[in-house]
Amino acid sequence: MLGFLIKKELLIELRAKESFITMASFSVVMIVTFAFTFTTTSGRFMEMASGLFWMMALFTSVLGLQRSYSYESEFDAFSALLSSPVDRGQIFLAKWFSGFILLTLIEFIALVPFLLFLRIQIPENFIQGIGIILLGNSAMMCLGSFLSGMAMRSRLSNVLVPIILFPLLCPVIIASVKSTGSWMRGFPLTDWDTWVYVLVSFIVIFGLLGYALFEHITEE
C-alpha cells in the first residue's frame, strides 16, 4: 500500500510538474542571490558553502511542502483518501518519502549551479557528503510533511508552516550545516559523528511521533 501511495504522490507531481519547476527555479534564484549578497571571493564561499547550501534546501523544501497538501485540498481529495481503507500513518510516510525524493532530486540538480557559480570545490570523499544530504533532507521532510498536514486546514497555512517548522528544525539545521562543513574541510568522520547521531535520532523520534499522531491531525 505504501508503494501505491508514494507512486500516487509522484504521479501527481509528474503530471503537473508544479513543485518541481517552482522548487528548481527557486533554488537557482537563491544561488544567484547568494552570489550578489556576499562578496564573490571564492575563499569566502568555501567557508560559508555548507550554510548556504542548507539555507537553500530549507527554503526550497517549504515550496514543495505547500504544494503537496494543496492538491489534496483542491477537490477535497483528502477526505476521499481518509475514508478509504488506508492506514493514516502510511499516508504520512508516503508524504514524507515522496517529499524526500523530490527535494533530493532538486538538490542534486541545483548542485551544478551551486558549485559552478559560487566556485566551490567538493572534497574527494563524496560518499559521506551524499549521506549527510540524504539524512538532512529526510529529517527536514519528516517534520515538514507532518506539520504541513496539520496546518493544511488552517487559514494562512502557507505562512504558518515555516514559522512553526523552522524553530522546531533547529537541531536539524545545526547538525546538517556542521557536518557538511566538517566534511568539506576533510575532517575524519569520528570528529563529527555527533551530528550524524543528532540527525538519526531526530528522524527516529519524529518519524515515530508522526506515524502515531498523524491520525489525530488529519481528522477534521
Binding site: 500500500m1 501505491f4 500516487k8 504521479l11 501527481i12 503530471r15 503537473a16 492538491y71 483542491e74 477537490f75 477535497d76 481529495a77 477526505s79 476521499a80 483518501l81 481518509l82 475514508s83 478509504s84 481503507p85 488506508v86 481528522e219 477534521e220
Partner: protein, 205 residues
C-alpha cells in the same frame, strides 16, 4: 445479519452542538435516505461515519468491511485524469484495475471522451458522473453518498436513478442524503431525518 450501529453520537462546532445524541441502525440491504435542512448536520454525520471527522462522544459499530464515501466535493485529484483517479481508487481499495473495465465503466456514465483530460477541466456534472463510475467500480459493502443528485442534468439524473435501482435490486446497503422527498420515497427503503441535532425515523407512507 450485520448492521451499522450508531449510539448517542455527539459533535459540536464552535462549542455549539450540531449532532446532539444521534442513534440509529442500518441493517444489511437497507437503502436509507437522510433528509434535513441545510446545516442540520447531514454531511457531518456522513463524514463521522466514514472516519473523516472525529466525533466528540458516542459509539459507532461498523461491521461492514469496505466503506465507500462519496462526498459533496468531487473527491478526486484535480491534476489527474478520470482514468488515473479510478485506477488509484482501485489500488486504495485493494482491487485490480483492469484497463478495459475502467474504460467501460467510464463509458457507462458518458465520460468516454473525457477519460484522459485532467479532472480540473471537467464540469461539475461530469465530476458527479465520475462519482457514479467510482461507485460501480469499487466493490463496497456500504456506500455513504452525500447529495448524489447534485449538479446533474436530466439525463444524468435518470442515469443516477438507474444506478440506485440496480443497487436496490441487488440488495446493497447504502445511506444517502437528498432534499427531494418524493425521489427518496422511490429509491430508499427507509427515511431518516435530522431535526435539531437529533434523528427521527420517518414512516414510509
Amino acid at each position: 445479519m450485520i448492521s451499522l450501529e450508531v449510539t448517542d453520537v455527539k459533535k459540536s462546532f464552535f462549542r455549539k452542538p450540531v449532532l446532539d445524541g444521534v442513534s440509529f441502525e442500518i441493517k444489511e440491504r437497507d437503502a436509507v435516505s437522510l433528509a434535513g435542512a441545510n446545516g442540520s448536520g447531514k454531511t457531518t454525520l456522513l463524514k463521522i461515519l466514514s472516519g473523516i471527522t472525529s466525533k466528540d462522544s458516542g459509539e459507532i459499530h461498523n461491521p461492514f468491511q469496505k466503506l465507500l464515501y462519496l462526498g459533496h466535493a468531487p473527491g478526486v485529484y484535480a491534476g489527474l485524469s478520470p482514468i488515473e483517479n479510478m485506477r488509484l481508487k482501485c489500488n486504495l481499495y485493494g482491487q485490480s484495475s483492469d484497463e478495459h473495465l475502467l474504460v467501460e465503466t467510464l463509458s457507462d456514465v458518458g465520460l468516454e471522451n473525457h477519460k484522459k483530460k485532467p479532472c480540473r477541466v471537467l464540469s461539475q456534472g461530469m465530476l458527479q458522473r465520475l462519482k457514479f463510475a467510482t461507485a460501480s467500480l469499487i466493490r463496497w459493502d456500504i456506500l455513504l453518498f452525500d447529495e448524489p443528485f447534485a449538479a446533474l442534468d436530466e439525463d444524468g439524473k435518470s442515469l443516477a436513478e438507474s444506478f440506485f435501482r440496480s443497487w436496490n435490486e441487488s440488495g446493497k446497503t447504502l445511506l444517502f442524503t437528498d432534499h427531494d422527498s418524493e425521489r427518496s420515497l422511490d429509491l430508499a427503503s427507509r427515511q431518516l431525518a435530522i431535526e435539531d441535532g437529533g434523528l427521527k425515523e420517518r414512516e414510509l407512507s
